[in-house]
């Protein structure tokens, strides 16, 4: 169950501001593709457009060869899921883990609810008795695991990761990244991951795109980071800055 993602000339404007002029990219099935760039460069907007959380964009986006707009809602939900940046804001504060996970199953009228929830909890490495906990009884890392479990439970093919670790502690970041990598190896997800941390991209992604002001200025393989092989001046500068920062640590 893997699917490729292709975005062709995606553009969106909010009022008079052209946030994305024209973005095109191809992600192979089972690949992990990173999107990096400074704040406000439109990285998250690409994910929100692709998942149709924003739908007034122009251009075309295909998942597994089918246009996302042509997919009916239920199929789309079972194809694409998203993990959000802030685990404190992405879980409903008054829903227990059990109801967070059982809602999507109820919406899609899936059977074997208990088994599916148990499977998702095991997949993200949480004990089953956490099902009866509420978000405020979980740590940040545990919350993000629940958010990932919620994304997994509909068995999607593509996972959109919107800075999944930036709100977490460094040691917890590593845990979550390793979890995401293990899940990709086990289930063959296609990842489209937004990050502003090149170390995370280096750890996770096969290729990545550098965005500036809504444009993709360069698409590079992972190996380009260490030697800084970027051709575009902005991408070059970004990677150099990140390398300098890492050396300074």
């Amino acid at each position: 169950m893997t699917a490729s993602v292709s975005i062709d000339k995606m553009g969106i404007r909010f009022g008079s501001v052209q946030v994305l002029p024209e973005v095109s990219l191809e992600v192979g099935a089972g690949e992990c593709f990173g999107l990096v760039g400074e704040s406000g460069s439109g990285k998250s907007t690409v994910l929100r457009c692709l998942s149709l959380l924003l739908d007034n964009w122009s251009g075309e986006a295909r998942i597994g060869g089918t246009s996302v707009r042509a997919l009916d809602v239920m199929t789309r939900c079972r194809t694409v899921q998203m993990v959000f940046q802030d685990p404190y804001g992405s879980l409903h504060p008054r829903h227990s883990v059990r109801s967070t996970l059982s809602q999507p199953l109820a919406i899609h009228k899936l059977d074997a609810v208990e088994d599916r929830m148990a499977q998702a909890m095991t997949d993200v490495g949480l004990p089953l008795d956490f099902l009866d906990r509420y978000p405020h009884q979980l740590s940040g890392g545990q919350r993000q695991r629940v958010a990932i479990a919620r994304a997994l439970i509909l068995e999607p093919q593509v996972l959109l990761l919107d800075e999944p670790t930036s709100a977490l502690d460094v040691s917890v970041q590593a845990e979550i990244l390793n979890l995401l990598q293990r899940l990709r190896a086990e289930k063959g997800f296609t990842y489209l991951m937004v990050s502003h941390d090149l170390a995370v991209v280096d750890h996770m992604c096969d290729r990545f795109a550098v965005m500036q002001a809504g444009n993709i200025v360069d698409i590079l393989p992972r190996d380009a980071i260490v030697g800084n092989d970027a051709r575009h001046p902005y991408a070059h500068e970004l990677i150099a800055a990140s390398l300098r920062y890492e050396r300074a640590l």
Binding site: C77, F84, S90, H92, Q103, E114, L128, D132, R150
Partner: protein, 299 residues
């Protein structure tokens, strides 16, 4: 992290969570003196209403013109009114009327306000504009004046008073629910629910209403004092409960004529209205603190 398998154990019953939450709220309320006072008065009111025939010493409608305007005594705890009816018994039976008004107004106003507010806030745009302008129209009249107009149009009776109060009490609730919804609408968990294919009605019911409920509940409790006062005001003006119903406001209105020489006619119904309104206000304040989600499920 250790993996423990509890799937084989029987699932905890869902109502256990609610029971625990309820007990926690109750314990919290009883810990602070003001809300404990409010809770006690309201419990006493509810018990009085429930067991009115047992508590009342006389028939509240029984007239005894030979014993009219009798001062408080062993035979008539709170004295008798101008028709010789026992005021204590009338107050006890009046508790039923007060509770009926409060209960009916609340179950009409709460859902209507919550529905209008959350729908307007969630959909935004034209739906929001239309619903909020309607709300504005209702809000632009003082509520007592608007209730007066409604009762005048519908005809004076207790039921019409309840309808009139409900019609004027929902807009603040709707405003509150809308404001809450607007702050929630952009939350990531709403986006996540959308990505799971949840319909708008499911998102409103499952995600937005639970978040609005505590503040709406607090607002409703604080509103009850106003509702009681408005009902008493309508009764006082002769537009609410009609004689011989022992409604507290109406009792004050008829007692007014004899107020100078028979102070007990207005004092006791007045004290009843005062203490019940105060109790609702104190309880509302206590609920505001108690309904914090972190307090609610603390184990």
């Amino acid at each position: 992290m250790t993996l423990t398998n509890t799937a084989s154990q029987p699932r905890k019953k869902p109502h256990a969570q609610w029971l625990r939450a309820g007990m926690n709220i109750l314990r919290f309320l009883l810990h602070s003196p003001p809300s404990a006072f409010g809770l006690t008065v309201l419990a006493a009111l509810a018990l009085t209403a429930l067991f009115a025939p047992l508590i009342a010493s006389h028939d509240p409608y029984l007239q005894d013109l030979g014993n009219a305007l009798a001062a408080p005594s062993r035979a008539h705890y709170f004295g008798t009114d101008e028709l010789g009816r026992d005021i204590f018994s009338r107050l006890v039976f009046g508790a039923r009327i007060t509770l009926t008004i409060v209960f009916l107004v609340t179950i009409v106003v709460g859902p209507v306000g919550l529905f209008v507010g959350s729908v307007a806030g969630f959909y935004g745009g034209r739906v929001d504009t239309i619903l909020m302008r309607v709300t504005d129209i209702f809000l632009s009249f003082p509520s007592l004046i608007l209730s007066l107009a409604f009762v005048a149009a519908l005809g004076p009776s207790l039921n019409n008073a309840i309808i009139a109060i409900s019609l004027t009490a929902w807009p603040p609730i709707a405003r509150l629910a809308r404001a809450e919804t607007l702050t929630l609408r952009a939350a990531d968990y709403i986006a996540a629910a959308r990505l799971q294919g949840a319909s708008p009605s499911r998102i409103i019911w499952h995600s937005i209403v639970p978040m609005c409920l505590p503040s709406v509940l607090i607002r409703l409790t604080l509103n009850m004092a106003t509702v009681i006062l408005t009902a008493a005001g309508l009764g006082f003006l002769g537009l609410g409960a009609q004689p011989p119903l022992p409604e507290w406001g109406a009792m004050i209105a008829t007692g007014r004529r004899h107020m100078i020489d028979s102070w007990w006619l207005v004092t006791f119904p007045g004290l009843a209205i005062l203490s019940v309104s105060l109790a609702f206000n104190l309880l509302g304040d206590g609920l505001r603190d108690a309904l914090d989600p972190k307090q609610m499920n603390k184990r």
